[in-house]
């Protein structure tokens, strides 16, 4: 770890603000994402937004969402992987909020320098997400549209924070471990302690968030 010995005031000044945009349309059936969302709500300097609760009729407030983006340093999409993509409200959110002139284009630099990552749960096993596996592509490959979204909006794209085999994670007691890693990740992001070099290039960010550190 490379934390500096600075005063409390200085430290709080260096705290990054994290925005978790959570999308899950059937939360009564959620076993992974709802607990992760609750964890995020409990951490200081993290703003956790339930998009389906905010906009049940998809009537997204563009102004408000853009301001929220401006007010934060790190943007996280938290969602279950649906057909190798996001639940529909996150796509709607992208289509509406990431406007030309705001997020991209000649004068669209509002997101410049921010960091972006996806926190996903996938039903398939990790082995399935390989070029020679059942799904034929790695998870990073499948998320390339979002990677390119980050690129064109001048954000730094970090590896996805992924839980595979999520349908049986509860039975296999893997969820609490994953939640710990999630909390670690969020805390590191807030404090700016994440190794960016590794975070950008690793396959799964969860592997970087073990309790013992790197």
């Amino acid at each position: 770890m490379n934390s500096d010995n600075k005063s409390d005031i200085d430290e709080s000044k260096h705290n990054r603000k994290v925005l978790v945009l959570f999308a899950h349309p059937a939360q009564t059936r959620s076993e992974v994402n709802v607990p992760l969302f609750a964890d995020a709500q409990a951490i200081e300097h993290v703003t956790a937004v339930d998009l389906y609760a905010e906009y049940p009729d998809f009537n997204i407030d563009i102004e408000r969402e853009q301001q929220q983006l401006v007010d934060h340093d790190i943007i996280i999409f938290l969602y279950p992987l649906y057909w190798y993509s996001t639940p529909s409200i996150l796509k709607e959110w992208q289509d509406l909020v990431l406007e030309y002139g705001f997020a991209y284009g000649h004068e669209g630099t509002a997101l410049k320098g921010k960091q972006f990552l996806c926190a996903i749960s996938a039903g398939g096993k990790e082995e399935a997400y390989q070029t020679d596996g059942f799904n034929h592509f790695t998870i990073r490959q499948l998320l390339q549209p979002l990677e390119q979204m980050a690129s064109i909006t001048h954000m730094t794209y970090l590896a996805p924070f992924a839980l595979f085999g999520s349908r049986t994670a509860q039975e296999e007691h893997r969820i609490s471990d994953h939640r710990r890693k999630w909390t670690t990740l969020l805390n590191k992001l807030v404090k700016g302690e994440l190794n960016m070099e590794k975070a950008m290039n690793i396959e799964n960010l969860a592997d970087l968030c073990t309790q013992s550190g790197e």
């Binding site: 349309p25 009564t28 349908r167």
Partner: protein, 643 residues
């Protein structure tokens, strides 16, 4: 008394028989009335001397017609017409009068007589032309608008003519009449301006015109509001009649044309919220009086004079109509009227008009024309009017087809007048609909029977009119026949049902959206033909229920889904319930199937919503995760071939 009834009955029978026949034969109602008059007058001699008296009375139809024409014209559009009015109208009147005057001089008439004849024949028939335009839907064409400008100018020009004609009096005629003790003197007795110096006369005229405009603008509103608050329809009709008759009387007193005064009042009231109600009230009177007027024209044809001077009258009529048509054609070319419009303009105005009769009798009272000339000229005016429907038929049959190709283009031009929405009822319900439509640039016509409500709505800048939308004639004047939608948003259940029934019957092409009080009322409206029905409380209750669930911390998106599930089941069951309702209502079933189905709906909704709420792995669809362990199965299963 019985005598009057008898005459009235004869007139009505003639009209009732002749007009529908003429209409069916494609001759138009005007010709039907004229023929009716011809049959009861000179042909069978059922009516006689009283026709002139009736004609004076029936001329009031023209006054009403100009009032209605004025109602359609806002002051702004009148101002926009000014160049057309002066250009087309001025040229037509000046050229025609000059040519006919010259012709009369050439035939050996003195100048005064010739000029009077020229002026009389320069006028055309507002009654026939506008009535026919309306019937054939020609008002909005370029030719129709131009013809209207000319007619309006002529109506205005009648005033200076009435002032000019007495100056042309022939001294010998006047003195011989004085010896006999003139009876026509009494006709002019009622006048405010007699004996006034010219400046006083001018002052009286200006102040009475000012009274009509200013009074019409400021006094009519409180008056109509006061009357409307009584909710008595016949009193509103009485008020409308009072207004027009009052104006006509005032104009008569100061020596102005009543028609022009009524037109002015109409223009002043064109912006009023009472416009459509006024139109609906006056329209039947106007129609009947005009019909009566046309009958008297037909009945007044004097066969004796006609047969004695047949050749002369025929020659004169043809000459007059040719000269008029020629002048009109030249003007049409100068003003660049295109194709069919040029011919419409030329043919529609080629007759002499009802003001011709007025000027003739005025001229005789003032000893300008000798009586033998007057009886011949009356026939020329009448016959030229008689021939006008023929000219319209010529236009329809011979000229229109030649330009049929360009006609479709023309219709596209007027599309901005179409596609509007009539909203009946502008209470809490209608306001929301209107706001939504207006915000999307949809032209709406808003009607309500509560004048306070109209007042309020007008204050926020909505075009709303006072009127009982359940009255067929109000719906018509509001443009229901041209509208693409009729929104019925009125409180009264039975009136709403009647309106749906009437609207679907009278305007089968207009889509009707109706607000229902409850389920049963909704089914009734649907049965009567409403295209879309919504219960006034359904959506708001559903929203309130959703808010209640959200307040109990149920996830908003889940609440949204429950709402949709509710709607889906409601929609699915609705048709079945409706059919059961019809069976029950018509008494075909005695087992009260409807009630059974209604109870079934209740439990269906309850079960469907409950399943989703409590059972995590229910059969309810929507983001159901695959079963646990599906991933292994997927990888190891052979996918069966679908062959």
């Amino acid at each position: 008394m019985t005598g009057y009834f008898l005459y009235a009955f004869i007139y009505l029978v003639a009209a009732v028989i002749a007009v529908p026949i003429a209409k069916r034969l494609g001759l138009g109602s005007v010709l039907g009335y004229l023929i009716a008059g011809l049959v009861i007058g000179p042909v069978f001699g059922l009516v006689g001397d009283e026709t002139t008296t009736i004609q004076h009375f029936a001329e009031f139809g023209v006054v009403m017609m100009l009032f209605l024409v004025g109602l359609e014209l806002e002051p702004r559009s009148l101002w926009a017409m000014k160049s057309k009015l002066l250009g087309l109208g001025g040229l037509q009147l000046g050229l025609t009068a000059a040519l006919i005057t010259a012709a009369a001089i050439a035939l050996g008439q003195p100048f005064g007589v010739s000029l009077t004849i020229g002026l009389i024949f320069a006028l055309s028939s507002t009654a026939i032309v506008l009535q026919t335009f309306q019937e054939k839907g020609l008002q909005q064409t370029e030719g129709g608008k131009s013809a209207f400008s000319v007619l309006l100018f002529q109506d205005i020009a009648v005033i200076p003519m009435l002032a000019l004609i007495p100056l042309l009096a022939i001294p010998e005629l006047a003195s011989s009449a004085a010896e006999h003790g003139s009876s026509s003197e009494s006709h002019n007795n009622l006048s405010l301006v007699e004996g006034l110096p010219p400046w006083g006369y001018g002052l009286v005229i200006i102040s009475s015109v000012a009274f009509v405009t200013v009074g019409g603008h400021y006094l009519s509103r409180p008056l109509f509001k006061f009357v409307a608050s009584s909710h008595l329809r016949e009193i509103f009709t009485a008020t409308a009649l009072m207004l027009i008759i009052g104006i006509a009387a005032l104009m008569g007193l100061v020596g102005l044309s009543p028609a022009l005064g009524a037109f002015l009042a109409g223009v002043v009231l064109a912006n009023s919220e009472f416009r459509h109600e006024l139109e609906a009230n006056i329209e039947p009177f106007k129609g009947l009086l005009l019909g009566l007027f046309f009958i008297t024209v037909g009945a007044g044809i004097n066969f004796g004079v006609l047969s004695d001077n047949a050749v002369l009258i025929a020659a004169l009529t043809i000459t007059v109509m040719l000269v008029k048509a020629m002048v009109l054609y030249v003007i049409a070319v100068v003003f660049k009227l295109r194709e069919s419009n040029k011919w419409l303009f030329t043919l529609s105005l080629a007759q002499a008009g009802e003001f011709g009769f007025v000027l003739l009798s005025f001229a005789s009272q003032n000893y300008v024309l000798p009586s033998n000339i007057i009886s011949v000229l009356s026939l020329v005016v009448a016959i030229s009017m008689f021939l006008t429907p023929g000219l319209f038929i010529l236009f329809d049959k011979a000229i229109m087809p030649r330009y049929q190709g360009s006609k479709t283009q023309r219709e596209q031009d007027t599309i901005d007048e179409q596609g509007s929405v009539v909203i009946a009822g502008i209470g809490r319900f209608g306001q929301i609909i209107n706001r939504l439509l207006v915000a999307n640039d949809v032209k709406t016509v808003v009607l309500d029977i509560r004048s306070e409500q109209i007042d309020l709505i007008r204050r926020v800048g909505t075009k709303a009119y006072f009127g009982d939308a359940s009255k067929p004639d109000i719906l018509h004047t509001a443009g229901a026949h041209d509208a693409s939608l009729l929104v019925i948003a009125i409180d009264d259940k039975d009136t709403a049902a009647e309106m749906v029934k009437y609207a679907k019957h009278a305007y089968p092409n207009v889509k009707v959206l109706a607000r229902a009080f409850d389920r049963g009322h909704g089914y009734r409206l649907r049965q009567l033909g409403a295209d879309y029905v919504v219960s006034e409380t359904y959506h708001s209750a559903l929203e309130m229920g959703a808010e209640a669930l959200r307040s109990l911390n149920i996830h908003p998106f889940h609440v949204e889904r429950q709402k949709m599930a509710y709607k889906n089941i409601e929609d699915q069951q609705n048709d079945m319930l409706y059919k059961a309702w019809i069976d029950d209502a018509s008494g075909e079933r005695i087992d009260n199937n409807y009630l059974k189905l209604f109870i079934e709906l209740e439990s269906l909704i309850k079960n469907a919503l409950k399943a989703d709420l409590h059972d995590k792995h229910s059969k309810m669809r929507g983001w159901t995760p695959p079963p646990k362990g599906y991933a292994e199965k997927l990888e190891h299963d052979e996918i069966p071939d679908n062959e």
